[in-house]
């Protein structure tokens, strides 16, 4: 891992990858801890529609908030990873968690259980290499 970061260039909007190299979403936001007299530090990398919508403006944020409130399937609408879980940085940001069990895969599981997985042939689809 390198020592110096340009947070916007190197982290924000880059790909989050779990320990089995699964894509867990992009880094939609970065949480900083700001306190008087203490050096500002990066606490969490965040991912979620709510965070993305906020970047587009208040109206989109309201729409996203409404949608997540009524149709959300995640336990917490924002998926947060503490900085300490980051194991490798580059174009992709590797984190030491099991993505399939995490909230980042909530939609994947929900769609699979309720829709995609119920369609014929969904599981015989393709043999894995």
């Amino acid at each position: 891992m390198k020592a110096h970061y340009f947070l916007v260039r190197d982290l924000l909007d880059n790909q989050l990858v779990d320990r089995d190299k699964r894509n867990l979403g992009k880094i939609d936001g970065i949480a900083l801890h700001v306190a008087q007299g203490k050096q500002t530090r990066v606490t969490h990398l965040e991912s979620g529609a709510l965070i993305l919508a906020r970047r587009l403006g208040p109206r989109w944020e309201r729409i996203a908030a409404f949608m997540t409130r009524h149709f959300g399937v995640r336990k917490n609408p924002v998926f947060r990873v503490p900085w300490s879980k980051v194991t490798k940085t580059g174009i992709d940001i590797h984190i030491d968690i099991d993505g399939v069990k995490s909230d980042a895969f909530a939609w994947e599981h929900w769609l699979d259980d309720h829709l995609i997985g119920r369609l014929p042939l969904a599981h015989e689809h393709i043999k894995e290499d």
């Binding site: 340009f6 916007v8 260039r9 924000l12 909007d13 403006g57 989109w60």
Partner: protein, 154 residues
């Protein structure tokens, strides 16, 4: 030339979105939201875009009026030639009956649509010949197809 420019940081475009979405956020309405210092310039851009659109539309309307009759004339020539080609092909058994019928239908449909507001003698005549051709094709009557085809040439 641009290679070195990427050594610093990522380009940002937070400010581009309001321009593209139009008036999605007029931040002055809600005192809790941060006032956008760039809104004046943003409004100016939107204004300019509107004006350009107005000019484009006016220009369009001016151009579209004049060549309606010219367009109809071309369209009649085009469909007349199409029907000849289809009749020939049907006589040589190069296209199926169904396709020939559909093409004749398309011709009549397109011409009727264009003459819905105006009357045009040539168009009316062509629609009449198309109807004859259609009957002939439907009945597999080669002589009548040839006759209708002859009428198309005139």
């Amino acid at each position: 030339m641009w290679g070195h420019t990427f050594e610093s940081q990522k380009c940002r475009t937070e400010g581009l979105t309001p321009l593209l979405w139009g008036h999605t956020f007029d931040s002055t309405k809600n005192p809790n939201q941060r006032p956008d210092p760039r809104s004046a310039r943003h409004m100016h851009c939107v204004d300019l875009m509107r004006r350009l659109w107005a000019i484009a539309i006016a220009f369009t309307l001016a151009c579209s009026k004049q060549d309606d009759s010219e367009k109809l004339r071309k369209s009649i020539d085009s469909w007349s030639a199409t029907l000849q080609l289809v009749a020939d092909a049907r006589l040589k058994n190069e296209v199926r009956k169904g396709f020939a019928l559909k093409t004749i239908e398309a011709a009549v449909d397109d011409l009727e649509r264009q003459t819905a507001k105006t009357t045009d003698d040539r168009a009316t005549r062509l629609i009449g010949v198309a109807a004859k051709l259609r009957q002939a094709v439907e009945a597999d009557d080669r002589a009548s197809i040839a006759k209708a085809r002859g009428e198309l040439v005139r």
